[in-house]
Amino acid sequence: MTAGWTAEEMMTIAAARLLKNGTVCFVGIGLPSAAANLARLTHAPEIVLIYESGCIGTKPTVLPLSIGDGELAETADTVVSVPEIFRYWLQGGRIDVGFLGAAQLDRFGTINTTVIGEYGRPSVRLPGAGGAPEIATLAGEVFIILRHGKRALVERLDFATSRGFLPGDRVEGAGKRGKGPSVLVTDLGILKPDPDTRELTLASLHPGITVEQAKAATGWALKLAPDLKETPPPTAAELGALRALQDRTRRAHGED
C-alpha cells in the first residue's frame, strides 16, 4: 500500500474511534482488544474495559495474548469470578458495548465460531462460543471487527453461534436484550445495519478502497448505505499510539 499505514492499522484505528470516553466495554481477545486499548490510549482514557476472565476496569500497557494474562488482573480496578462477571455484570445490564471478533459472519451480524461444515462431522472444528452468545444479546449494543473476505462474510453460516439480527427483527420491542450489532469494522470499510431490513450495508470505505473491492470481498450481494462515506485516514497521533502499543506488546511477549 502506498499510504503510510496498513489495512490492518486502518481497521484497528477505525474501530477504536467508535468507542466513546466513559463507555463500559466487554472486550473480546485479539482484534477487539487491540482497538479497545487503542481507544483507551488515545481519545477515551476513561473507557472501562472488561474481560471475561473477570477483570473490570483493566489498563494493560501491552496487549494480552490470552484473555487472562496477568497484567489484566494487576491493572484492573477489581477482579471478580467468572460466574460473577457473566451474572452480575453482563446479565445485570452493566455493559454498554460488547466488542466481538468472528470467524464467519452473515449479513445480519450473526457470528459463527463453532464449526465449518456439519456440526456432527465438522471439516474444521473452531474453538466454540466462549462468552459471545450472551455478550451478543445482553450488551447494550455490539461492535464486531474482522478481516474482510468471502470466507469471512458469508451468504450462509454453517452454524449460528452468537445471534445478530433475525431477518425483519424489530429489537426495540424485545425489551429483554440489547440492540444487537450496530457496526462491523473490517480492513476495507465500515458496515452498518439498514434501519429497516437490519442487513449490514457499506457505510464507509477506508481510503484507497473501492466499492468494487468491498463487493468482491463480500459473500453476499453487498448493498451501499445511502450516504456512503470515506473513513478519515489515520492521524499521526493514532498511528504513533498503535505502533508503540504493538512494539511494547511484541517485546513483552518475547517476539523480538
Binding site: G54, A73, V82, R125, P127, G128, A129, P133, F159, R163
Partner: protein
C-alpha cells in the same frame, strides 16, 4: 479435612477411571501438574469438564484419557487451535470424543448451581444460538412469576474437582487470588477435591473477604511449586507464552505429540522431573 500429600497418592486415591473430572483454571492457575499425573496413572473413560479446555486437556484427549468433553471454548489462547482436540472431534483419534458444548455463561451458571445444590441453573442465555439444537442439555423454561422464557442448563456435579492455588496452611486451608475463574464453584460442586499449591505456609494471612477454601471442603492438598506451568500463578510466576506458541507445532502431528508426551510426561516421575526434562530440551 484435607490431607497434605503427594500428587501420585492424591490422584491414585481420589480419581477413578470413568469419573467426571473438572480441572478448572481460567487461563490462570491451570492444574497442569495434576493433569500430567492423571496421564501417568493412565486414567481412562473420563468425562472432562472445563470452561476453557486448553493444553492440559489437549494432552489428556490426545493420550486417550477422555470419553467426553463438556466445555464452552476449546482453543490455544492467543495462538489458535487445539490440534489433539480437533483430531478427536474431526476424525475420532485416538478415540471418539463425545462433546457437550455450552457458552461460558451457561457453564459458569451450571457450576454455580452445582455448588448451590440445585438441579439446574437458569439464565438469560443462548438466545438465537444454534447450540441448543445440538445440545439437549440446554433447554428453556418459563418464569413462574413473569412468564418470561429463560434458558436452563443442568448443574455440574463433578466426581472430582482439581485446581491449582497459591498457598495452603498446614491444616490444608487454601488461599487463591487474582483471576479466580470458576474454581471455588468447581470445588464446592464436586464430591472430591484436589488442590495443588505453590507453597505451604504457617499462616495464610488472608483478609476477611479473601477467597479461602477451608480445609474441610478439600480432600488433598499437594505442594507443587510451578504446578500450573505453562499457565501461571499470580505472585509466583509469569505465563510462559513461548510454550503455548511452541505447543502448536508439537501437537500438530500425532507422532510429534506422542513423542513429546512419552519423553516429557510418561518418561518422568513427577512434575519437577518434567520441568527439568523441558529445560534440557530447550
Amino acid at each position: 479435612m484435607a490431607e497434605i500429600t503427594t500428587l501420585s497418592q492424591a490422584v491414585a486415591g481420589l480419581v477413578r477411571d470413568g469419573d467426571t473430572v473438572a480441572m478448572e483454571g481460567f487461563t490462570h492457575l491451570i492444574p497442569h501438574a495434576a493433569g500430567h499425573e492423571l496421564i501417568r496413572q493412565r486414567r481412562v473413560g473420563l468425562t472432562l469438564v472445563r470452561m476453557t479446555p486448553d493444553l492440559v486437556y489437549d494432552q489428556l484427549i490426545g493420550m486417550g484419557a477422555a470419553r467426553k468433553l463438556v466445555f464452552s471454548w476449546g482453543g490455544n489462547p492467543g495462538v489458535g487451535s487445539l490440534h489433539r482436540f480437533r483430531d478427536a472431534v474431526e476424525t475420532g483419534w485416538p478415540k471418539p470424543l463425545e462433546i457437550e458444548e455450552h457458552s461460558h455463561a451457561g457453564l459458569a451458571n451450571a457450576y454455580a448451581a452445582g455448588a448451590a445444590n440445585l438441579p439446574f441453573a437458569v439464565l438469560r442465555g443462548y438466545v438465537g444460538s444454534d447450540l441448543p439444537k445440538h445440545n439437549r442439555m440446554i433447554r428453556t423454561l418459563r418464569c413462574p412469576f413473569t412468564g418470561e422464557e429463560l434458558a436452563a442448563v443442568p448443574a455440574i456435579r463433578p466426581d472430582v474437582a482439581v485446581i491449582h492455588a497459591q498457598k495452603a496452611d498446614r491444616k490444608g486451608n487454601v488461599l487463591i487470588w487474582g483471576i479466580v475463574g470458576v474454581q471455588k464453584e468447581a470445588v464446592l460442586a464436586a464430591k472430591r477435591a484436589i488442590v495443588t499449591v505453590e507453597e505451604i505456609v504457617e499462616h495464610l494471612d488472608a483478609p476477611p473477604n479473601a477467597l479461602v477454601l477451608p480445609s474441610w471442603v478439600v480432600d488433598a492438598v499437594v505442594p507443587v511449586p510451578g504446578g500450573a506451568h505453562p499457565s501461571f500463578a499470580a505472585g509466583y510466576s509469569k505465563r510462559d507464552n513461548r510454550f503455548y506458541k511452541d505447543w502448536d507445532a508439537v501437537s500438530r502431528e500425532r507422532e510429534s505429540f506422542r513423542d513429546w508426551m512419552e519423553r516429557h510426561v510418561l518418561g518422568t516421575r513427577d512434575f519437577a522431573e518434567y520441568r527439568r526434562s523441558l529445560e534440557g530440551a530447550r
